[in-house]
Symmetry: C2
Subunit: 498 residues, 2 copies
C-alpha cells in the first residue's frame, strides 16, 4: 500500500512526534478533568517543554530531505502516499517556519490567557482579559506572517481548522444561511407552542450518568478504548487508541448532559473510526473541524432528536426517571428535546439559533483581523450585532463576549467550523436518506450499526485523504451547500411549532 | 543563595528534564487510575518516547563541562550548591555510563520479565520465572560494573534507593532487630487477646471516601495541590506542585483503605513539604526511599494508630458508620486498628510482622548477589527462612517467593528501605516526644500542625541536602538505631496483647 522507500522513513519520524502530541492532548484533558486548583503553573511549564520537544521532532532537518525526495517522485506516489506527503509538507513548513521562541511564547501565553479568561468571566471584567486577547491576536498575525500568509491572516487561521477553507467561501455560505435563518428563527420563537423543559427537575446525577453511558454505548462508542468524565465544558480529546470525552451535570437540566454526551460521542465515534494503525500520519487523522463537527452534530441532532430515536429510548428514560417524567406526555418530551429558545449563550442554544451565534462570531473575527474592529470595542459591537443577528442583547459580558474559551487560546477561525459542521451534517443526512430511505426505522429498534457502518465507510476510514470540500463532494455529489441545513430545520421545526 | 555562575546554567538544563520526568510520572498515574482496558499499547509507546527524550536531556554533553567547572571550584561552593552538584554528577554518570545497548536490553527485559512474573504467579510456577530472574540479576551486576561498582553490586543497588547506605550497615541493623523482633512477634501472636476485624462489614465506599478525605485533610494534605483516586494498588506520585495519591476500597475491609490513604498521605506530606521552587534539583527532591517511608510510616503508625488520634476521630467514624461500629467498644476498635496476625503476604501484614518479611528478603538478596544462593534454590530457601524468621511456611510459591513485583523489574535493594523507614520513623518519634512531651495531646484535639511543622523544618525543607544517615543523625543525634523501633513496638503492643 505504502511503497515509496522514503515513506517508511518519514512515518518513523512522525511516530515519535505523534506520541508527544498525544501526551500533550492528555495533559490538556487532565488539566480540565483532574488538575488540582493550585497546580496550574507546573502544568503550563510541562506543556511548554513538551511543545518544544514536539516542535523539535517536527522540524528535524532530515524530514526536509525525505519530503523533497518524495515530492520529486510525486507522479509515482499513490493517492495515500500523496495525502501523507501533502500533509507532512504542511506540518513541516508550519514547524520550521515558526521560530522556537514564538512557539514557546505561544504555549506560555495560552496557559496564562486561559486563566485570565476564567477570572475575567467570573468577574464579568472584559478589561482584565483584553490585554491577553490583544496579544493572542498579535500572535495569530505574526504566525500567519511566518508562514508567508501575511496578506490574509484570518484565512491562515481558518485553514488550521478546515484545510482548504477560506473566509470568502464561508462568507458566501453564511450570507445565504443568515437570510433564511433569521426569519425562520423569529417565526419559531413567536410560535404559541412552548416546550416545557422547566418541568424537568431533580434528575439524580448517578442515574443521568448511567443512562447516558447506556445511550452512548448503544450508539457505538467503545468504552474499552475510551471514557467519559466530568469537566466544566464538554469536549472530546485523545485518538482512536484512547478517546477521552467529558460532560457536565445539572440535576435540573438533564437534557444538557445527555445531548452534550451524544455530541461528544459523535466526535468520539469519528476518532474511533480512524485507522488505528495509521494514527501517526494523515491517513489516520481527522480531515478538520468542519467534518469533525458534522459527525457530532449528525449524531446529536439528525439522529438523537428524531422521533424514532425516542421511540426506542423513551421507555428506558422513563424507567430511570419515572417520577421526574410523569407530568410529560411523549409529545411533551419530544418537544422538550427539540426546544427552541432565545438564549445569549452559544453552548446552551438549540440547533436553530446556534448557527446565528456562529455567524456573529465569524463577522467579529473577520473585522478583528481586517483591523476594522479594535479589541476594546469588542463588547459593544458584540452586543449590537447580537441584537441584529440573534435578536437579543446579552445583559453582561459574562453572558456575551466573555462566554467562550476559544479566543483565550488564540483559536480564531475555529467558530465557523461549528456551522460548517451543521451544514455538512444536514447534507450527509439527505444523502443517507436517499441511499437508505428506511434508516430511521433502525433507530426505533435501537440499531445504529447501519448508520455507523456508512460513516465509517464514507468518512472515517479515509482520514485526511481528502480536504473538507472534496470529501463532502465525494460523499454527497456537491460541495457544501447551506440549502440542506435550511431544509432540514424547516422539515423538523415547522411541523413542531405550528 | 546559589551563587556560582555555572549553577544557574546547570539548573536551567535540569528544569526541562524535570518537566519530562513529571509528565512520565503523570502518565504512570493515569495508567493506573484512568486508562481504558485496551489503550495500554499506546501508553507503552508514549512512555518509551518520553523516556528517550528524558535520557537525551539528562545526557546532554554540555552538562559535563558545567559539572567539571563546578567540581573544580568545589571548596568555594556552599553546602546547597555542593548538594546540587553531587547529585547531578550521580545522575549524569548514570545517564552516560550505561551503554545504549544495555539500556535497551534492560527495558525489553523489564517488560518481558514483568509479564513472565504475572503468569508465573498466576500459575504458581517459579521455574517459568527463574530464567528472567537470573537475567535480571546478571543485568544488575553488569550495571554496577559499568558504574565502576563491580566489587559490591548489591551496594550499588541499595544506593539507588537510599543514597550512602550499604549492605553491611543494613545487616548490622537487621541482625539486632531480628534478635528482638522474632521473640516479640511470637509473644504477641500467642496472646489470647484477639482483634475483631472480621466484624467490620458493609462500610459504603462513598462514606469511606468522605471520611478518609476528612482525615487526610486534617493531617495536613493540601487538596488544592493534590488529589486521591482509586487504583488497584495504593501509591503516591507527582511532586509538591501536584501530588497524586491512590487508594482502594473494600466494603468489608474498611481499615485497609483508611490506613493505606494515611500511609500515602505521609508520602504526600513529604512531597508537599519539599521546596516547590527547587523541584527541578536536589534541593527540592526527596532524600531516598528510607526517609520517604519513614514519613508514611510515622503518620500511619505512630500517629494514626495512637489512642489520642482515635480519641478525636472515633466519634466522627461512628457518626459516619453508626450501625457498622455498633458491636465494637472503643477498646475493640482500638485493638482492630492495631491487629497483629500471621500472614504470608508482605503487603497485608501489620507493623510488627512486616519487618520480618523485609529481613527475609534482604537475607535472600544478599545471598543471591554474593553467589551463596542460586536462583533455582530460591523457593526452598525462601520457605525455610520464612519459617525461621516469620514463623510460617507459605503453602505455595504464589504466596511466597512469587508474591512481590520488585524482582521482575530488577529492583533489588529496594525492600530494605521499607524497614529502614520503620526504624527511622520510630527514631524520629522518640526525638519528637523528647522535644514535645505533650505532642499526643494535640492529636486528641485533632491538631497535627505542630507535628507537621516539625517535620517540615527538620526533614522536608532540606530536600536531598543530606544523605539518609546524615539527616537522621542531624535530626535525632544518632545514626539509624533499631532500638527505637523495638522500643516503640513494645510500648504499643505489649500493653494491648497482655
Amino acid at each position: 500500500m505504502l511503497e515509496h522507500p522514503s515513506i517508511q522513513a518519514l512515518l518513523e519520524k512522525q511516530k515519535k512526534q505523534h506520541h508527544v502530541a498525544s501526551v500533550l492532548s492528555l495533559l490538556g484533558w487532565d488539566e480540565q478533568v483532574n488538575l488540582p486548583p493550585k497546580s496550574s503553573d507546573q502544568r503550563g511549564q510541562q506543556m511548554a517543554t513538551l511543545s518544544e520537544v514536539h516542535h523539535q521532532f517536527g522540524s528535524d532537518p532530515s524530514i526536509s530531505g525525505l519530503l523533497k525526495a518524495l515530492e520529486a517522485d510525486w507522479s509515482q506516489l499513490n493517492d495515500q502516499e500523496q495525502a501523507i506527503v501533502k500533509n507532512s509538507r504542511k506540518e513541516f513548513d508550519r514547524a520550521t517556519r515558526l521560530p522556537t521562541d514564538y512557539v514557546t511564547e505561544k504555549a506560555i501565553l495560552d496557559s496564562e490567557a486561559y486563566h485570565a479568561w476564567v477570572n475575567a468571566r467570573e468577574n464579568d471584567d472584559f478589561a482584565a482579559f483584553a490585554p491577553f486577547l490583544k496579544r493572542q491576536l498579535e500572535m495569530a498575525k505574526r504566525g500567519a506572517e511566518f508562514m508567508g500568509r501575511g496578506g490574509d491572516p484570518y484565512d491562515y487561521q481558518i485553514d488550521l481548522f478546515d484545510p482548504g477553507m477560506t473566509a470568502q467561501t464561508i462568507e458566501g455560505l453564511f450570507t445565504t444561511l443568515k437570510e433564511e435563518l433569521v426569519p425562520l428563527s423569529r417565526e419559531i420563537l413567536s410560535s404559541p407552542v412552548q416546550a416545557k423543559n422547566e418541568q424537568l427537575k431533580a434528575f439524580s446525577v448517578d442515574k443521568q450518568e448511567a443512562f447516558l453511558k447506556e445511550v452512548t454505548a448503544k450508539l457505538g462508542f467503545d468504552y474499552d478504548r475510551g471514557r467519559i468524565d466530568v469537566a466544566v465544558h464538554p469536549f472530546c480529546s485523545g485518538n482512536a487508541c484512547d478517546t477521552r470525552m467529558t460532560t457536565r451535570f445539572h440535576e435540573d437540566v438533564p437534557l444538557d448532559s445527555l445531548f452534550s454526551s451524544i455530541h461528544e460521542t459523535g466526535h468520539g465515534l469519528y476518532e474511533q473510526g480512524l485507522p488505528r494503525d495509521q494514527l501517526h500520519n494523515a491517513l489516520g487523522q481527522a480531515v478538520g473541524m468542519g467534518i469533525h463537527e458534522s459527525q457530532s452534530r449528525l449524531w446529536e441532532n439528525q439522529v438523537s432528536r428524531s422521533r424514532e430515536f425516542w421511540q426506542y429510548f423513551e421507555p428506558k428514560y422513563r424507567e430511570a426517571f419515572p417520577e421526574q417524567l410523569s407530568s410529560l406526555s411523549s409529545d411533551d418530551l419530544y418537544l422538550a428535546v427539540n426546544a427552541v429558545t432565545l438564549c445569549p449563550i452559544r453552548v446552551d442554544s438549540d440547533e436553530v439559533t446556534y448557527n446565528l451565534h456562529i455567524i456573529l462570531r465569524f463577522e467579529l473575527e473577520k473585522m478583528l483581523f481586517s483591523g476594522e474592529l479594535e479589541v476594546d470595542e469588542l463588547p459593544d459591537t458584540w452586543n449590537r450585532l447580537s441584537q441584529e443577528i440573534i435578536g437579543l442583547t446579552p445583559t453582561s459580558n459574562k453572558a456575551g463576549v466573555l462566554q467562550d474559551v476559544h479566543w483565550s487560546g488564540g483559536m480564531f477561525g475555529y467558530f465557523p467550523s461549528y456551522c460548517l459542521g451543521n451544514m455538512i451534517a444536514a447534507q450527509l443526512w439527505y444523502t443517507l436518506l436517499e441511499e437508505m430511505p428506511d434508516l430511521l426505522s433502525d433507530f426505533a429498534r435501537g440499531d445504529f450499526s447501519r448508520l455507523l457502518g456508512w460513516l465509517r465507510d464514507r468518512i472515517h476510514q479515509h482520514g485526511k485523504r481528502y480536504e473538507t470540500q472534496d470529501l463532502v463532494k465525494r460523499v454527497t455529489g456537491d460541495k457544501i451547500n447551506p440549502k440542506h441545513l435550511i431544509q432540514y430545520l424547516k422539515d423538523r421545526y415547522k411541523p413542531l411549532y405550528q
